[in-house]
Symmetry: C2
Subunit: 158 residues, 2 copies
Amino acid sequence: MNGSGELGERERRAWYAFLTMQEDLRRHMNRQLLQDTGLSLADYAVLSTLWMQDDNTLRVYELRERLRWEKTRLTHQISRMVTRGQVERNPCADDPRGQQVALTPAGHEAITKAVPLHIEYVRRVFLDVVTPRQLDTLAVLSEAVLDNLGTGEDPADT
Amino acid sequence: MNGSGELGERERRAWYAFLTMQEDLRRHMNRQLLQDTGLSLADYAVLSTLWMQDDNTLRVYELRERLRWEKTRLTHQISRMVTRGQVERNPCADDPRGQQVALTPAGHEAITKAVPLHIEYVRRVFLDVVTPRQLDTLAVLSEAVLDNLGTGEDPADT
DNA sequence: CCTTCTTGGGTGACACATCACCCATCGACC
DNA sequence: GGTCGATGGGTGATGTGTCACCCAAGAAGG
C-alpha cells in the first residue's frame, strides 16, 4: 500500500528517526573525538586502517578500498595529514606511479591513544543503549541497504 | 562480557555495517539529489522545512529547532542559499533582532519538483529493502540513541 | 614501434561544517 | 536609570567532501 508519492506514518517516523540519529551521532562523535584526541573522524579512519597493518603502511588504492572512499577525497585527506605530520607518502618500489602511505611516529602515537578512547565512546553512546537483538537487526538491515546501493551504476571515479 | 577495551565480533560487525551504510547512503543520496534536482541535501532540508509552512516562512531560530542544526551552520547555509536565490531574509516585524526566512518563487518551484523525486528515491534505495519489522526496530533504536545523546552536556551553541 | 585504453594518483575550485568570537537587543534585578 | 546575563543572529578562518579535469605509466592490439 502507499506505493509511492508519499510516506506512510510508519515509514516517515523510522526514516526521520534514522536520519536524525545518524546526523546527530556523527556530529557528536566527531566533536568528542576532536576534543579527546585531536583527531577528526576522517583522520581516525585513515590512521586506524594503517595501524591495523603489520608495517603500518598501505598503497593508496588499498587504503581506498578498505575505506570505501573516492579517489580525490583520500588524496586530499592524505595531503592534509602529511602537513600535520600524521602520515607520510613514499614512492612505491615496484610500481613507479604507486604511492605508499605510512604512519609517522606521531601518527602512530596519536592513534594508539585514540583507539581505546573511541571504542569506549562508541560503547557508551551507542552499543550500551541497543539490545543484542536490535544490534543484529541493524547489521542485517545495513548490509541489505549496502547491497542494494551497490546495484546501481557507479560514478566511475571509485 | 567484554565490558570494555575491545568490541566483540557481533558488535564490531553491526557497528561497521551501520557506519558504512550510513556514509555510503548519505553520499549516494546527495549525489542523486544534486543530479536530479540541483539541490544539495542541506538545501533540501531547509527548503522542505519552509515548504511545509503555510506561509513558506520561518524565524531563523524556529528553522534551527526543526532542523536540529547549530547556529553558524544554518546562518552560513542561508547566506549561500540567498545568493542562489532560493530563499530570502526579511526583517522581523515584532522583534528587531529577528530574521524571517522565506522561500522565493524559484525556491518554491525547486522544492516542489524535488520532493516527489526524493521520496521515490528514498523508497527505492532504502524503504524497499527493509521489512516493516526491521523498520520499527530501527525507529526504536534510533530514538533510544538520540535520547542517550541528549543526556550529555550540550556545546552551548545550539 | 605506435596508437589507444585503463589504472594509480593528483590539482583547483567550490560547497559544506565547525570553531572561536562578535554585536545588538531583550529582560531582570538593583 | 544602569548593569548584566540570556537570546537572536552574524563573521572569518579552517577543515572536509565533491566535481571536473589532468598527467604519467602500464597493457593490449595492430
